[in-house]
């Protein structure tokens, strides 16, 4: 029972690790942290990358080992690809924090026709894509046609 409580506490702690590239979100918010389980004598932390080549992944794994180590756990970090990561896992709360941070949150990934992206600064929906690829693999670059500010958009996938 103590082991189980320990795992739950560890999971809560690991979930709060901030994403290195979008620090307003945690790896729990993003759904990058999939599971914390016990296998035999050791704790296994399961993660999934946002994008196959996400360069933050190695850093996130190091952080997990570090945070778990500080909590007295020696963990194995395991990467899985299925189910494939989707922005639909992001909670409403996380989306609001993302917008407040200046990054337009993703729309639903499962529908093809979505509402125009809202400017995170002035809330206008008169926005346009500047570049389909942005500062990180998970973002595209957009511009608001009302306040004229450029902004990042978290791509829906």
């Amino acid at each position: 029972m103590n082991d189980l409580l320990d795992l739950v506490a560890l999971r809560t702690e690991l979930e709060s690790i901030p994403d290195p590239e979008v620090p307003v979100l945690s790896i729990g918010d993003l759904g990058v942290l999939r599971d914390v389980t016990q296998e035999g004598g050791r704790v296994v932390v399961v993660v999934t990358p946002t994008y196959s080549g996400c360069p933050a992944m190695d850093h996130i794994k190091d952080l997990i080992v570090e945070v778990a180590g500080a909590a007295g756990h020696s963990v194995e970090v395991r990467t899985v690809y299925s189910p494939a990561w989707t922005t639909d896992w992001m909670s409403d709360d996380a989306r609001e924090r993302l917008a407040a941070y200046g990054i337009a949150p993703p729309g639903p990934a499962t529908v093809t026709i979505t509402e125009p992206v809202r400017c995170p600064r002035c809330r206008s929906r008169r926005t346009e894509v500047v570049s389909r690829f942005g500062t990180t693999a998970c973002k595209s670059l957009m511009r608001c046609r009302d306040c004229l500010e450029p902004f990042d958009h978290f791509k829906a996938i």
């Binding site: 990358p49 994008y51 196959s52 080549g53 996400c54 360069p55 990467t79 899985v80 690809y81 299925s82 189910p83 494939a84 990561w85 500047v130 570049s131 389909r132 690829f133 942005g134 500062t135 693999a137 670059l141 791509k155 996938i157």
Partner: protein, 251 residues
């Protein structure tokens, strides 16, 4: 199927991703504008991520203790089994885009089929990769249209790139015994089955781009058996130099 055979098949697809990622990475700072420069780097990093996952899986299937670095950095040219298309150089931006488009239009149906593989790891990599490949395809197809249906100069260069790269397109669909065995076992995909989807995409995009389907270009293959064009050796010397000269170095 033996682990060794499965590893050989996975390695083909890992090499496609790795070599194309290296080509794209080498173009960073040479894009026609800043946004496209960033786009190229993003395409490269997605493909590199897919390559790393596939290389790691191939190493595990092979069971000889080779990890992703050993497979990427310590094999010679003849041991690489990527498609000839992806190793072709970038004399201009039209070549970069046309190469990408011909590849993306193939990789999307490949990953769609591979997502149903009986190999769970391979299926997972493909389920993830297909989302990236679709995004890449919409980007490269958009550029083919923009360049083909653009100025006289961009049309001429894009038609030229298409003509020069077309000879490597038949190889995308060549199936050998290993392909067929992998497909029969429900683990892999018979590449010849990808042709209708590829043809559909290519025909639609070329027509919108006012580009004619090339004719009389001939056909080249050999990448899957390690017989490459002269360009791969030079690419690998760039890719592998540091690792081989400073073994075990890290930062």
């Amino acid at each position: 199927m033996t682990g060794e055979d499965r590893a050989r098949w996975v390695l083909r697809h890992a090499d496609d991703c790795l070599v194309l990622a290296q080509r794209l990475g080498a173009q960073v700072s040479r894009g026609p504008d800043l946004e496209e420069d960033i786009a190229g780097a993003n395409l490269a990093i997605d493909l590199l991520g897919q390559a790393r996952a596939l290389l790691t899986h191939a190493g595990e299937l092979e069971g000889r203790g080779r990890d992703e670095d050993a497979l990427a950095m310590e094999r010679d040219e003849r041991a690489f089994t990527n498609l000839l298309l992806v190793e072709q150089p970038d004399p201009d931006f039209a070549h970069t885009i046309v190469r990408q488009f011909l590849f993306d239009a193939w990789q999307v149906p490949l990953y769609e089929a591979l997502a149903r593989s009986a190999d769970d790891v391979l299926a997972g990599i493909a389920q993830k990769g297909v989302k990236e490949a679709r995004y890449h395809l919409s980007h490269s197809a958009g550029w083919v249209v923009r360049l083909g249906d653009g100025t006289d100069e961009s049309h001429r260069r894009t038609a030229g790139a298409l003509h020069r790269l077309w000879r490597f397109s038949d190889e995308l669909f060549e199936a050998d015994d290993l392909d067929l065995d992998m497909a029969d076992a429900g683990l892999g995909v018979d590449p010849s089955t990808l042709r209708p989807a590829w043809e559909g995409t290519v025909e639609r995009v070329l027509s919108e781009a006012t580009l004619d389907r090339p004719r009389g270009t001939g056909s080249r293959s050999g990448g899957r058996t390690g017989y490459h064009t002269e360009h791969l050796g030079h690419l690998l010397s760039d890719l592998q130099y540091l690792h081989r000269s400073h073994q075990g170095a890290s930062w």
